[in-house]
Amino acid sequence: MISNDMAWYMIIVSAVLINNIVLIRFLALCSFFGVSNKLETSIGMGMAVIFVMAIASSASWILWTYLLLPFKLEFLRTAAFILVIAALVQLIEMYLRKAMPALYQAMGIYLPLITTNCAVLAVAILIIDYNLGFLNSLIYTIAVAVGYTLAIILFAGIRERINIAPIPEFLKGYPIIFITASLMSMAFLGFSHLFGL
């Protein structure tokens, strides 16, 4: 999948398009379906995810490399990462509210939602599983988050259109949304094997 000897632009193409976190890898679906009913909120959510993911996975990379690994505490990975991520999101929220009220206004309400966003923990675990170095893991994380943002913005555009379309009674709501996601996933599947990846 992703490895240390891949060029940085290959990592980006792979994470954004070929292995899109939402449509191909099925992560962060709760927020993907929950927040995507308006274009504006999807953009806010996307930005918040990029921001939090970059900080959270850097923190967990450091925690893993300098604390858990040297002291042979690998079995604490799940517990340690989820606690660090939850605490970090709280911290970011408090800091933003005090220091950058404008930015907090724009994405503050999405921050608590991100704690339960499985993609944040998943990326923290994946960069460990792939054995990535710090720089590569940062590139990978940001690319994954950009892939999420791309998917949710495209999806919100389609959903705004679906709202005014005539839909058969029993497909209204979630069923039609899932079918739409299926079609989008099919479109993203078309990127597979791009550049021989």
């Binding site: 992560l27 899932f178 299926s182 599947l189």
Partner: protein, 201 residues
């Protein structure tokens, strides 16, 4: 609510995946075959029942302000147990489920039941709730996996045993075991469940 209602609630009327639409990530990601889906369901059910018991048992002296971190620590303990046990007992299944095993910790169903049920009810009800919700989750995943596998691969395997094989003559629609098939089949399952509930009144 009597004990029987608590138990059957999770299977249809409040089915976590089909009605509450939570716990989607594992439901979609590992349902490429009935076998993987069933394994995931059992793993999540174990964590759900065990964490429900413990959270319900300590609810009287859990401080209200820090209950969520406490829930998370309890849940992640059981997830780590499942992680290591599965790694030893069924390495193939473990490899297929991949990152979704540690991700049980952020499964909304488990934290959701801890907060909404186990924290407010006695141990016995919490066990029943955990079993009911677990069966609802496992059943949905297995059905989803079986439908995808039969259309996409022409087989159904459960517990590493091939139950059904349509043979060489069947031309599988590969799309169903690939990502788009997961969204499509789940969409129609939700619609079907709605139709059934409406029929029953």
């Amino acid at each position: 609510m009597n004990k029987w209602n608590v138990f059957v609630n999770g299977i249809m009327k409040e089915n976590p995946v089909l009605v509450l639409v939570i716990g989607l990530c594992p439901a979609l990601a590992v349902s490429g075959s009935a076998n993987d889906a069933f394994g995931m369901g059992i793993a999540a059910t174990f964590v759900l029942i065990a964490s429900n018991i413990l959270i319900s048992a300590v609810r009287k002296f859990t401080p209200d302000q820090i209950r969520i971190p406490i829930f998370i620590v309890i849940i992640s303990t059981f997830v780590t147990i499942v992680d290591y046990t599965m790694h030893a007992a069924d390495p193939v299944l473990y490899a297929n489920l991949g990152v979704f095993v540690p991700l049980i910790v952020v499964n909304c169903i488990i934290l959701g039941r801890a907060e909404a049920f186990a924290y407010r009810n006695d141990v016995l009800s919490s066990i029943l709730d955990g079993i009911g919700m677990g069966i609802g989750f496992t059943l949905t995943l297995t059905v989803l996996g079986a439908v995808r596998e039969i259309i996409g691969n022409g087989t159904i395997t459960l517990l590493n045993y091939e139950l059904l094989n349509l043979g060489e003559g069947f031309k599988p629609a590969l799309m169903f075991i690939m990502p788009p098939g997961a969204f499509l089949v789940l969409g129609f399952l939700i619609a079907l469940n709605r139709l059934l509930i409406k029929r029953k009144g």
